[in-house]
């Protein structure tokens, strides 16, 4: 469990004194009921598929991960080694829950699951990430996505 008192002192300091970006306005987009939404996962855990370029220090770009990608094809090259890997080792759904989304769709909780999901590597500066994030948004809109579940590492 993670509360401030349970973080290492260096990470506490990073959170307390770290860079907090500010943006113009506060967009807040509404949509249809959950049972009609098409949901995509966007994780900042630094996932890529085997054979693709891995995330390197300072990489603000993204990887597109088709929904049918088997867990055996996923690698995690996030440059931070300060978070647990053994949960993901046992079950990719702890941070990339596409299988769970399919189950929620089958149960009728959500409408459907996006054809493609996305990964960035968190903890970077927002400015270089912006064009990639907006590109991902366009790709998701083409896929009729109208709900995004953001998961960290």
């Amino acid at each position: 469990m993670v509360r401030m008192t349970e973080l290492t002192p260096s990470l506490q300091e990073a959170v307390e004194n770290g860079f907090n970006p500010t943006f113009e306005g506060k967009p807040f987009v509404l949509g249809p009921s959950l049972s009609k939404r098409r949901v995509a996962v966007v994780t900042s855990a630094g996932l890529s598929r085997r054979g693709e370029p891995l995330f390197r220090l300072g990489d603000s770009s993204y990887r597109a991960i088709p929904a049918a990608t088997p867990a055996s094809e996923l690698l995690m090259s996030h440059v931070s080694i300060n978070f647990d890997r053994t949960g993901f080792m046992r079950d990719q759904n702890v941070l990339f829950p596409v299988e769970r989304l399919y189950e929620l769709a089958a149960e009728g909780t959500i409408g459907s699951v996006a054809a493609t999901h996305y990964s960035f590597m968190g903890a970077g500066h927002p400015a270089p990430m912006e064009p990639y994030a907006r590109e991902v948004a366009e790709r998701m809109k083409t896929d009729d996505v109208d709900a995004v579940l953001l998961t960290p590492a």
Partner: protein, 244 residues
């Protein structure tokens, strides 16, 4: 607001973030966040527990139906039951009892090879059971990783590519994941992440070698090599636990 949440929402896509550090969520001011009291790296909680994970996801997605905002920040009320240490887990190997000092290159290399051969059938069992592995970042097989690590430990300057940050972390990840995956299939009880990492860092020759490498790199002349030593070898929680 986190960059991703802002840019996606600004493009017209409704977002909800699962958050593992509450203060960060308070400061970022995402449109919608569900704070979960789970460890870093497991934002949906318990591995292989679909019921638990779906409850977390539902709790997050339901925030999308709130009629007004931002900012919505809700606390998830349940702990991750898999986070607790298991007092019925007994790691079957304590390699550290017999591992030579890493400065004794030949003997240390032989001991490391023996250690990894001991773990090899357990790693094969993990892959057979799960049909996956996180090993594979470096592009080398695990023997190649071991040889590369030993060569780098012996002389960082001799094996340094233009930027060690581009490959040392991947070799180290592959080696560490190999050990942790092997240990996950070594005993019928699944330990907590703290227990697994504690075993690795306290009881394996590889960890002893990594700590020796770290000692070398953190005083290195080259900035990026020093960065590798400080940031890419020893996870923060272990650095804190070991007082390094």
């Amino acid at each position: 607001m986190s960059a991703l949440a802002y840019f996606l929402e600004d493009e017209g896509l409704p977002t909800v973030a699962v958050s593992v550090i509450r203060l960060q969520s308070e400061r970022l001011g995402n449109p919608r966040s569900l704070w979960v009291p789970f460890e870093l790296g497991r934002p949906l909680g318990t591995p292989n527990d679909p019921v638990f994970q779906k409850h977390v996801i539902r709790s997050a997605l339901e925030l999308l139906e709130a009629p007004s905002g931002p900012v919505l920040l809700v606390d998830y009320p349940h702990e991750d039951p898999s986070a607790a240490d298991r007092d019925d887990w007994f790691p079957p190997f304590n390699f550290a009892e017999s591992i030579p000092n890493p400065s004794d290159g030949v003997q240390f290399a032989a001991a490391l090879e023996d250690e990894m051969q001991t773990l090899a059938p357990l790693h094969r069992a993990f892959v057979a059971a799960t049909r996956r592995s996180m090993v594979g970042e470096s592009g080398m097989d695990i023997e190649g990783c071991r040889r590369f690590f030993l060569a780098y430990l012996a002389d960082p300057a001799a094996t340094a590519a233009a930027n060690p940050m581009t490959w040392v972390p991947w070799v180290v990840d592959d080696l560490r994941y190999y050990y942790l995956e092997a240990m996950l299939s070594a005993y019928p009880v699944i330990p907590s992440s703290r227990q697994l990492e504690g075993w690795f860092w306290d009881r394996t020759g590889l960890a002893r070698g990594l700590l020796a490498l770290r000692s070398k790199l953190i005083t290195h002349n080259d900035t990026m090599t020093r960065f590798v030593g400080e940031r890419a070898l020893l996870p923060g929680p272990q650095r804190h636990r070991l007082g390094l």
